[in-house]
């Protein structure tokens, strides 16, 4: 620490939770060492000025999300979140294992339902899930993949152990912020990147594109891929367009698609064009008015029929929601052992299933100490944190749960880990979670080294979703080590394999510092 002088770190003291930058003795943890000293060298104003510049680049780029019908810049915090290489060695295989389990489970649910006959999962759990769609039963995707893209939400408890908080295998969003956060932060801290060996995230789009191409129906040589977006007013529109742009594929809306004789086409200025793979960012219920909600204008009639015929691949597959149901979540450790024969690498957060009468009774007794969540919720909606809730909120939630125990789970309050975050009062610890993204191309599950770190901007707030006023941080995974020290000194001349460089030419009179110029000057002076 820097003695008497005030630095942005003065007064930073972690609270009860696990702080990722500073340990209980106030020592900086090793992965954060370089970030810490870089910020230490700045003044408080300098840090604020950089944070402002960061926000401005986001407005100019149009990196926004719609909050209550208004375009807002997504708040990006100036302090990165650093994940050490050794921690990533746990997260990456853990997430991949989770995805393989979910794939196996989905294939089973929409196939022979072995897990039910073997007594692992009660049948009613599947049939009562509102995301279980019989209409895609017995439809096998061309390369067997249903979870092309997944976002497995992780948290770190007060012992520093990574745990899975929830699985997202329907249409997980947020990866665009990973990509654009990185672009913004690398302009803000150019030196740190090289020095720390931060692993790059930019290959995500190429990986996704090749995974989608591999998912194409059989016999299609050069598949035409589209991103299906609900449209420009969707809160994640920025992400849809960024993915389409960086993959080099068309971004379509439902009205651009039409189906004829079990094939999907898009309307172009040169007539109809076949579509082979649809990366859809539209929920199941809106995808096809023939099968799902008849009033939906976001999908195209006949898509599901085309998918059943195997003429188009839909990613992620329809009906995946049955696997990221929060009740199925409680069975994930068993499912991992059952399908893969492996011990789960990443543990769950302890969870009570409230449909179980004994658990319900226990939870009702300790209601004000626990977190209760609806099983089908997303975006932090309906989550009630017992210790922080008012009496009337507790009472209302209690009624909801007693009416529909199947619809709820309860968990102990997890003190999410904290990371230093710039607030109006300087740097303070704020709670974070992590959503790593995984792409399954059928041969291999690839986990993006990084992921979306969401941060709750209010002090003590434990819900980090952007729809609840959260922000994000760039996540730096270390381990892409470039040994700067051992690079041989540069040669005095660079040789391109014996090829002579071609000199750059210029207007012949521009660089002649000769007679003409002097003559002209003399001419002027003698006049």
């Amino acid at each position: 620490m820097a003695g008497d002088a005030t630095t942005p770190w003065t007064g930073y003291s972690p609270a009860a939770a696990w702080d990722e930058a500073v340990d209980v003795q106030g020592e900086v943890r090793e992965p954060y060492a370089k970030v810490y000293s870089e910020i230490e060298r700045m003044s408080g104003e300098d840090l604020q000025a950089r944070a402002e510049a960061l926000a401005n680049t986001y407005l100019a780029q149009g990196v926004t999300f719609d909050h209550a019908g208004e375009e807002r810049p997504f708040p990006l915090d100036i302090v990165p979140r650093v994940v050490g290489a050794d921690e990533w060695e746990i997260i990456s295989p853990g997430v991949a294992q989770r995805v393989r389990t979910l794939e196996a489970f989905l294939a089973d649910v929409y196939g022979s339902q072995r897990c039910v006959t073997d007594g692992i999962i009660p049948r009613r759990l599947i049939t009562t899930s509102q995301y279980f769609h019989r209409v895609v039963g017995a439809v096998d995707p061309a390369n067997g993949v249903r979870v092309h893209v997944s976002g497995i939400d992780l948290v770190r408890d007060h012992h520093g152990i990574w745990r899975v908080l929830e699985d997202n295998v329907r249409v997980p969003s947020g990866v665009s912020y990973v990509l654009s956060n990185r672009r913004a932060m690398s302009q803000m801290f150019p030196d740190l990147f090289g020095a720390m060996g931060v692993r790059p995230v930019l290959e995500y789009s190429q990986r996704l594109r090749s995974a989608l191409a591999k998912a194409a129906p059989e016999g299609v040589e050069d598949p035409s891929i589209v991103v299906l977006s609900p449209g420009v007013f969707n809160s994640a529109y920025y992400e849809h367009s960024l993915l389409a742009r960086t993959m080099g594929v068309e971004l379509v809306e439902g009205r651009d698609l039409e189906t004829h004789a079990g094939r999907v086409y898009m309307r172009t200025t040169a007539g109809r064009r076949r579509v082979d793979v649809i990366y859809r960012r539209v929920d199941d219920e809106y995808l096809d008015p023939v099968v799902f909600r008849p009033d939906s204008a976001l999908g195209a009639p006949g898509i599901v029929h085309a998918a059943r015929l195997g003429n188009v691949a839909i990613a992620n597959a329809i009906g995946n929601g049955v696997a990221d149901d929060k009740l199925i979540y409680t069975y994930m450790p068993e499912l991992t052992r059952y399908y893969l024969g492996e011990e789960p690498i990443l543990p769950n957060v302890d969870t009570w299933r409230l449909e179980d009468p004994e658990a319900l009774e226990e939870v009702m007794d300790r209601f004000d100490e626990l977190v209760t969540k609806p099983v089908d919720g997303a975006g932090g909606k309906g989550v009630l944190i017992g210790p922080a809730a008012s009496k009337s909120e507790l009472e209302a939630a209690r009624q909801h749960i007693l009416e529909d125990p199947r619809g709820w789970i309860a968990q102990p309050v997890v003190q999410l880990s904290t990371v230093p975050t710039l607030t109006s009062e300087g740097l303070e610890p704020r709670h974070v979670d992590l959503r790593p993204f995984a792409i399954n191309d059928g041969d291999d599950v690839w986990v993006l080294p990084g992921g979306l770190t969401r941060v709750a901007l209010q002090r003590g707030q434990l819900i980090v979703n952007s729809s609840q006023g959260g922000g994000s941080k760039d996540t730096w995974v270390l381990g892409g080590v470039r040994h700067r020290g051992s690079v041989p000194p540069p040669e005095s001349r660079v040789e391109f394999a014996g090829v002579e460089p071609v000199p750059q030419s210029a207007h012949p009179e521009d660089y002649v510092h000769g007679q003409q110029q002097m003559q002209q000057q003399q001419q002027g002076s003698t006049c």
Partner: protein
């Protein structure tokens, strides 16, 4: 290229060009009001709004003109409204246009409020012209010459022909002697090019000729009509006779040759009517392009009752 995207690109081209030219037109109008001592201001204002096809109601003040054509972002006729619409279209076609073009449109849109509140409208107009130039420059430097380029260029050249025709109509505005030809040339950034080409003082016929039918100057009407025609041929090369694009090219070609093969003094005698014809040709070409490229030929709709 998706029809919906092509339509957005076409309109980005039109809107940016429209904002640019509206800024030029207003700039010259406000100058005329200042310089012409015998001006009947309300009439001149009203007829300028009529040229721009804005509904007029009673005596029109200078502020009302500026609001209607420049600052009121809720009006589709104003520069602010037009640039906002351009940015909305760019957002819809975000994955096709380059990041640089998007960011220039987006920052323009975000500065609009502050810029348009300036006490000196001239500064705002200069800024608008500069922003349009930035957009075009980046567009030209970062876009492949494929259909994305063609549709934007098509919109741009149609709009430019249309707007120059409107600008020339202000020569015959009621209530004022109108801008002189030197001013008009300056408004189109054509004065220097004119002087280099014609090498003589500005006369009415020569100046009109330059803005109407010069083959090489990028802001003459004939140049832009011709360019729109060529671009259409690029978009649909294997032209079948009597196809819809052919009708669009026909309308444009007729308007162009009408200017080119008519004696210049005849055009000048009847300038407003002639210019109206150019605008009509542009409008009908635009309609035909919409029918041909942007509307689905047949659309499949799912109706609940049929189940």
């Amino acid at each position: 290229m998706l029809s919906r995207i092509a339509e957005s690109l076409f309109w980005i081209g039109r809107y940016v060009e429209r904002a640019d030219n509206t800024a030029r037109l207003l700039d010259v109008h406000l100058n005329v009001l200042l310089e012409d001592p015998w001006v009947d201001e309300p009439t001149a204002n009203a007829s300028l709004l009529a040229v721009m096809h804005v509904p007029v109601d009673g005596a029109v003040t200078r502020d009302a003109v500026i609001r209607a054509l420049a600052t009121d972002a809720t009006l589709s006729s104003s520069i602010s409204g037009t640039l906002g619409a351009a940015r909305d279209n760019a957002r819809r076609a975000r994955e096709v246009i380059s990041t640089e073009v998007w960011e220039s449109l987006n920052t323009t849109y975000m500065q609009l409020g502050a810029r348009s509140r300036t006490p000196r409208p001239h500064d705002f107009f200069t800024w608008v012209r500069e922003r349009a130039a930035v957009v075009w420059g980046l567009h030209s430097a970062t876009t492949s010459r494929d259909d994305a380029w063609n549709f934007m260029e098509l919109g741009r050249s149609l709009e430019r022909a249309d707007m120059i025709a409107r600008l020339l109509m202000t020569k015959a505005l009621a209530g004022t002697t109108g801008p002189n030809w030197t001013t008009l040339l300056r408004t189109c950034s054509a004065h220097e090019a004119y002087l280099r080409t014609v090498r003589s003082l500005v006369t009415e016929e020569r100046a009109a000729e330059f803005l109407l039918i010069d083959r090489l100057f990028p802001r003459s009407i004939a140049y832009n009509l011709d360019k729109a025609e060529t671009t259409l041929a690029l978009i649909e090369p294997g032209l079948a006779r009597h196809s819809q694009t052919d009708h669009a090219r026909l309308a444009l070609g007729r308007a162009r040759t009408n200017l080119e093969y008519q004696a210049i003094d005849e055009i000048l005698e009847d300038l407003p009517a002639q210019m109206r014809q150019v605008q009509r040709a542009c409008a009908s070409a635009s309609d035909i392009i919409r029918d041909r490229f942007f509307l689905p030929s047949s659309s499949v709709l799912w109706s609940q009752e049929a189940v």
